[in-house]
């Protein structure tokens, strides 16, 4: 196991702590006033990831995601529970932070490298790569604070990715810099991931999480809601965020379902049969039932009145258009109505050249293998 967290709890101190003098402290304690308070920022988080895992952490604002990253990187100590992290960690928390504003870019590279535990020789050998990757060749002796925010984050990303970390922690940083750099950094990221590095990413972009992560941790107000399979947890998170399902319902589905049906699969099924996406209520109904399988959904749809009606409507339309001249539009119509797919462009040309009638084309499709297979499938399912 690369990273293992067991039952982490962290009590966060808040209140007026930042601008207190000894005088205020003495006056307050004489008056028996106490403007310090505490809250449970993380409450019972346990998970483990191993070599090559890419973990995404999701949750709303103030869920405790960044605090959790600080616990993993060792910046904060948990109040209870154990953290086990194996290997050297390169973390990018909050863009361009953790540098010394007065020092130059060159000095900052060595400072950050030294903080990550590397020595002079190693950093000297990597220095040119880092500068080149960040594109800051002309700013090597500029004080860090004079860089633009884009440059700062580029530098941070370049250092973290070029020193070959064993664990990479990223907090909302993949959208770094301009388009060109973003492309470059995503590529670098992918090559890092493929080299077997363990990565943790906090992101509000579910698309990014779905694309990159193989495991997901969902926390809500400090509590661990779900940990595990990416697609389904992202689906559940979306259902919860849109108010369609409660936390308990999400957990219930994830923990009890034997075979997850993802939202994508559901959308596909509905599109193919009914030509529309499932409504929120329908999706909710499927997700509430842990017994749901794709087969079950398909059967239900094919048996539904809506599907019957849709079929009847198609037939009626075919009847209605019987006498119409065979235009390109009509060819498309027939293909859609009977085969649920558009004609290939060669088909259209072929039909138009033959100058067939509507009736003939209908019969031709009717007798085709494809249509028969489709009908057999439907009958079989019914």
């Amino acid at each position: 196991m690369k990273i293992e967290l067991k039952d982490i709890r962290l009590i966060y101190k808040t209140g007026n702590l930042k601008n207190v003098g000894l005088k205020d402290y003495i006056i307050d304690s004489l008056r028996h006033q106490n403007n310090r308070s505490e809250f449970l920022a993380i409450d019972g988080v346990s998970f483990s990831v191993s070599d090559g895992d890419f973990l995404g952490i999701i949750g709303g604002n103030g869920a405790g995601k960044s605090t959790l990253l600080k616990v993993i990187t060792g910046i904060m100590q948990p109040t209870a529970g154990s953290v086990h992290v194996e290997g050297n960690v390169a973390a990018l928390l909050e863009l361009g932070s953790g540098f010394d504003g007065e020092m130059t870019v060159r000095e900052n590279i060595f400072l950050r490298g030294a903080i990550l535990g590397y020595d002079n020789a190693f950093l000297t050998s990597k220095y040119d790569d880092i500068i080149e990757f960040s594109g800051l060749e002309d700013f090597q002796n500029t004080p860090f604070r004079q860089l633009s925010s884009g440059m700062k984050s580029r530098l941070a990303f370049s250092i973290a990715s070029m020193v070959n970390p064993e664990i990479l922690i990223l907090d909302e940083v993949l959208s770094v810099g301009d388009d060109a750099f973003r492309k470059k950094s995503e590529q670098k990221m992918l090559s890092i991931i493929n080299s077997g590095v363990t990565t943790i990413l906090v992101s509000h972009s579910l698309d990014q999480i779905r694309r990159l992560c193989n495991k997901v941790l969902w926390i809500h107000k400090g509590k661990q809601i779900l940990f595990g399979e990416t697609a389904t947890i992202c689906d559940m998170y979306q259902e919860f965020s849109s108010g369609n399902m409660t936390l308990e319902e999400c957990q219930n589905y994830y923990n009890n379902s034997k075979k997850f049906v993802t939202k994508k699969e559901m959308n596909n099924l509905y599109q193919k049969t009914l030509g529309r996406n499932p409504r929120d209520a329908e999706r909710r109904q499927w997700f509430l039932d842990p017994e749901t399988t794709t087969d079950k959904i398909r059967e239900t749809i094919l048996a539904s009145e809506e599907y019957e009606k849709l079929n009847d409507k198609k037939m009626a339309l075919i009847q209605e258009h019987k006498q119409a001249p065979l235009t390109e539009e009509m060819v498309c119509f027939l293909y859609y109505a009977l085969l649920n797919r558009p004609p290939e462009s060669s088909d259209i040309v072929k039909q138009m050249k033959k100058n067939d009638s509507f009736e003939k084309l209908k019969n031709a499709i009717w007798n085709s293998q494809e249509f028969k297979k489709l009908v057999m499938k439907k009958l079989h399912l019914k």
Binding site: L17, K23, M103
Partner: protein, 258 residues
């Protein structure tokens, strides 16, 4: 792992930090590092002009006496007030990156030590200039109070920086405190005008003890007795013990105050 092992591991980081702290102090001045030598000399000149009339009229080696006092005291002041603000100054770094926070305190102390050693060289030039004072192997013993003072300063820095993180007005109080301490350290006057009992009380002040050690070796020309040695070490040990204890107890909570 003991603290020393860890320091070994973080040696390169430590080097960078010391270099940075040392450079930064004089970065904005035209004279650069030269200023670190010039500023105590200027201070010495002013003090010599003012105080020689009052305290040094019938005394031999008053300039060297004054220099020894100033040298030790300003090292103590530099080291501890720098150490005090070191955590606050580097909060930007250690709240975002995992790094041993005490390295920042130590680096400030070592950069102050470098300044001190440079000034010590100038001090020796003054000793050389005084015809009645002669270098002897005895001077090598000065390493002892310097090491004790270094440890003492680190201990005090640990205490002050921990306090400063929590109480932001400590800085002003400490300025006042060092000013008072300066008056009680016999930097520019002689204690022999006080009765014997009062003179003993001065030994409660660690800085006075360290200054005294310097003056005995350089001016009075003998090796201090065992009690002075024990006192030097004792202050250093108590300071570093109390300092590490306070730091160790509180360092996990610093993050909330910054």
């Amino acid at each position: 792992m003991t603290m020393l092992d860890r320091i070994k591991k973080d040696r390169f980081l430590f080097q960078i930090l010391v270099k940075r702290d040392f450079n930064r102090k004089y970065k904005r001045t035209i004279l650069g590092i030269l200023w670190s030598l010039l500023s105590p000399l200027l201070q010495l000149t002013v003090m010599a002009l003012v105080f020689t009339q009052f305290f040094g009229r019938n005394k031999e080696h008053y300039i060297v006496y004054l220099f020894a006092g100033n040298l030790v005291f300003s090292y103590f002041k530099d080291s501890t007030s720098g150490g005090m603000s070191s955590l606050m100054e580097n909060a930007q770094i250690f709240t975002k990156v995992n790094v041993k926070k005490y390295l920042f305190i130590l680096s400030k102390n070592f950069s102050a030590l470098v300044t001190f050693l440079l000034n010590l060289c100038v001090f020796f030039l003054f000793v050389l200039g005084d015809k009645n004072l002669h270098f002897s192997p005895r001077y090598l013993l000065l390493i002892y109070p310097v090491i004790c003072l270094l440890i003492f300063n680190i201990g005090v820095s640990f205490i002050l920086s921990s306090l400063f993180v929590v109480f932001k007005d400590i800085k002003y109080l400490y300025d006042v405190f060092t000013q008072l301490l300066n008056y009680f350290s016999a930097v520019f006057y002689y204690v022999d005008s006080y009765p014997e009992r009062i003179q003993q009380i001065f030994y409660v002040n660690p800085i006075y003890v360290y200054i005294r050690y310097f003056r005995i070796i350089v001016i009075e020309g003998y090796i201090p007795g065992l009690p002075t040695h024990l006192l030097c070490a004792g202050f250093a040990i108590v300071s570093i013990l109390v300092g590490s204890l306070i730091y160790h107890k509180n360092n996990k909570n610093f993050l909330y105050y910054l």
